[in-house]
């Protein structure tokens, strides 16, 4: 499966492990609940770790763990749930998270420009055939009125 990362289409190395599935080697992401539950076990593994966050989760809950997390997936249950945008902003702007932030789930390619401006740098689209267009959507605007999270400081 391919995704967009840092404005390029690349092969994705990550797998999401459902809460009731066994952990495995490789780059794996888990839910916030599972991360909280199995944190010690996950930290001991050789895998790179990602955590999937939904709109109702609080980013503050993983603020102290961010150094151990290489990927944060911000998962849209519905494209209109704008809490995701504030989560991304907080991860970058407040907690200074430097790893990959990836949008997943039911978002629209028309949202990738705004998402990139609040700090999302990777996009896993529902339909991979939309990737080239989504890539071009990252350049929908060349001018802005607000500071982007990328050049906040």
């Amino acid at each position: 499966m391919q995704i967009i990362k840092d404005k390029q289409i690349i092969d994705d190395s990550w797998s999401y492990i459902a809460d009731d599935a066994d952990l495995k080697d490789g780059d794996i992401s888990v839910s916030l609940a599972r991360w909280k539950k199995d944190k010690q076990m996950l930290l001991k593994s050789n895998s790179r770790i990602g955590v999937r966050i939904g709109p109702a989760d609080s980013v503050e809950d993983i603020a102290a763990d961010l150094k151990d997390i290489q990927l944060i997936e911000l998962d849209f249950p519905a494209f209109a749930d704008g809490r995701i945008f504030s989560h991304a902003w907080l991860l970058r702007g407040r907690y200074n998270y430097q790893g990959e932030i990836r949008a997943t789930g039911h978002f629209m390619r028309d949202q990738v420009f705004y998402l990139s401006r609040v700090g999302v740098n990777a996009f896993s689209l529902e339909k991979t055939e939309d990737l080239p267009v989504a890539l071009s959507n990252l350049n929908d605007f060349s001018v802005n009125y607000q500071k982007s999270i990328v050049n906040l400081r």
Binding site: F79, G82, S86, M108, Y114, F141, V143, Q146, L152, R153
Partner: protein, 550 residues
């Protein structure tokens, strides 16, 4: 007024191009109805009873003659030769074709206009005092701050998918003409004890199904912190506002359910963390202020004697001056209201011919600028007193000089069932009937300041809950009924109107309104206004008569 620089222009052109792509994707079936709905709403496009409705932004109500000519052109080319001015100083077209909307947006962009964020669950057009910069009771001109907020809200990446719509209004005068207490955020320019000017910030006001008056969250905010404080409120709202029920999703419900104390603590905590990164520097404020510098007023305008003389000679002119002009801070100038409430035309509507003619008059008499008001009229803000007579004559010929500003026929009215797919009941025909019943100008002027607001459904676009007399259309088993309220106000002493009693049938509405006005005429004290009398006697004397007659 503010003139776009290259960046401003590029942004609206790119937005128009983006919408063209989105429309094409939708027409090709590449994006769903649901997705396109969100995208088109954020560009002011509703799907209505007969056709889409396009809402064009009137930034804090300020427009120029070139833009008016463009609106006329759009009305002629893409619509049925008219447009509609709204309570939030925007402009609506009721008959465009979906396929042509991208072309309309391109036309608008050519005159520094757009439809960005005029609907949808996002930051809406900022509205303000229609007498900003010219009124005699002003602390400071709010327009530069409106423009700063306009830019900050435009395509704000974090707050484009809020729980619900979000409206900001700014007032810089002692008298609140912008209904700021009924906005999600209301800003008042105020002076502190040290004589410095900053903002009093209100939050949680709003109309619609659950009308609530906003509360003060920050009694005094330094100007440099304006954007950081707005951002703090918006972030807390975006994260914690309810998304489970669209009728409970406005910020007013969050404030109500969490309590002002807890809500303001959350905002304060957030604000302290971000404010140093988002300071507005004084140079930026000054640069924007320079764009609102006063026009070249003539120093000897007050020496004219014709104005006083013509008022003595011509009763119709002096009546118009009395009702449809307002004091101006510069001697020899007045602000002139153009009434969009002629008896035989739907409130707030204008034809292409009128739009073009008004553009010419603005060029001749008011420095080429035109403002739209919260009560769906227009204003020439800077008219020399010597020019008022010829201006009045020409406005009269255009049916824009009905001397009814702030009277019972200066109704706020939504398009209602005739156009709007949300409406439960008609409004335009009822407004017409009330107009016909109140066609005696002397009677109308004797009644004085009565604000009638009428909405065709409980979404309340015409602010019926804050009308002195509010009329709300409801549906009862497929029949149009109307719920009356009394005693509402959107001004300094904002109040939500009280229900008069059970709703009444359509053919009884006009009779009920005239009965209410008759009770007022019979029972008022010397100079008592309608609203003051309702406050003094309550609704019972009105209720008894209205329901006795029904």
């Amino acid at each position: 007024m503010y003139q776009y620089n290259d960046n401003d222009q590029t942004l609206i052109e790119q937005r128009a191009a983006q919408f063209r792509r989105q429309t094409e994707s939708f027409l090709k079936g590449q994006i769903s109805d649901d997705q396109f709905r969100a995208l088109r709403l954020m560009n002011g496009l509703y799907v209505q009873t007969h056709a889409p409705m396009l809402r064009v932004a009137g930034p804090y109500g300020l427009l120029n003659s070139k833009q008016f000519r463009k609106l006329a052109h759009i009305a002629r080319t893409y619509d049925k030769n008219y447009c509609h001015f709204t309570t939030r100083q925007n402009i609506q077209f009721n008959w465009p074709q979906l396929e042509q909307v991208p072309d309309i947006l391109e036309e608008l962009a050519s005159v520094q206009m757009h439809a960005i964020q005029t609907s949808g669950n996002c930051l809406r057009n900022t509205s303000s005092d229609h007498l900003a910069g010219v009124c005699v009771d002003e602390i400071e001109d709010p327009r530069p701050y409106c423009e700063i907020i306009r830019q900050w809200t435009t395509l704000h990446p974090e707050f484009a998918y809020l729980p619900r719509k979000f409206k900001i209004a700014v007032s810089g005068a002692k008298h609140d003409r912008a209904a700021t207490q009924l906005h999600d955020i209301g800003l008042h320019l105020v002076k502190n004890d040290a004589g410095e000017i900053g903002f009093r910030v209100l939050v949680g006001g709003g109309l619609g199904r659950t009308p609530i008056i906003g509360q003060v969250i920050k009694p005094y905010l330094e100007k440099k912190h304006l954007l950081s404080y707005l951002e703090a409120i918006l972030r807390i709202y975006n994260l914690f506002g309810r998304r489970d029920n669209k009728y409970k999703a406005r910020i007013k419900i969050l404030v109500k359910e969490s309590g002002m104390e807890q809500f303001s603590e959350l905002v304060e905590k957030e604000w302290l963390l971000i404010r140093d990164n988002l300071e507005l520097d004084a140079a930026r404020i000054e640069a924007i202020k320079a764009q609102f510098a006063p026009p070249a007023y003539e120093a000897d305008a007050a020496q004219d004697t014709s104005f006083a003389k013509l008022q003595l000679e011509n009763k119709a002119f002096s009546t118009w001056v009395k009702y449809n002009t307002a004091d101006h801070k510069v001697p020899g100038y007045r602000a002139a209201f153009l009434s969009l409430k002629a008896p035989d035309s739907p409130p707030g509507d204008m034809t292409d011919t009128q739009l073009d003619a008004v553009a010419d008059l603005a060029d001749r008499y008011s420095f080429g600028e035109i403002r739209s008001t919260h009560r769906q009229n227009l204003i020439f803000a800077d008219v020399k007193q010597a020019d008022l007579f010829p201006l009045w004559q020409q406005l009269d010929a255009l049916k824009l000089a009905t001397p009814n500003n702030s009277t019972a026929t200066d109704m706020i009215c939504c398009p209602g069932l005739d156009f709007c797919s949300l409406a439960n009941a008609g409004t335009i025909s009822v407004a017409k009937e009330i107009n016909e019943a109140l066609d005696d100008l002397d009677y109308l002027h004797d009644i004085g300041d009565v604000k009638i607001n009428m909405s065709g459904c409980m979404n309340g676009c015409a602010h019926q809950s804050v009308g002195h007399i509010g009329i709300l259309g409801v549906d009862k088993k497929g029949v149009e009924w109307y719920q009356l309220t009394l005693g509402g106000s959107s001004e300094n002493e904002a109040a939500i109107g009280e229900r008069l009693g059970p709703s009444i049938a359509k053919d009884q509405v006009t009779k009920a309104v005239t009965t209410i006005l008759d009770v007022y005429i019979k029972q008022r004290l010397d100079d008592e206004s309608f609203l003051d009398m309702v406050k003094r006697v309550g609704i019972n004397p009105f209720k008894e008569q209205v329901y006795a007659n029904n």
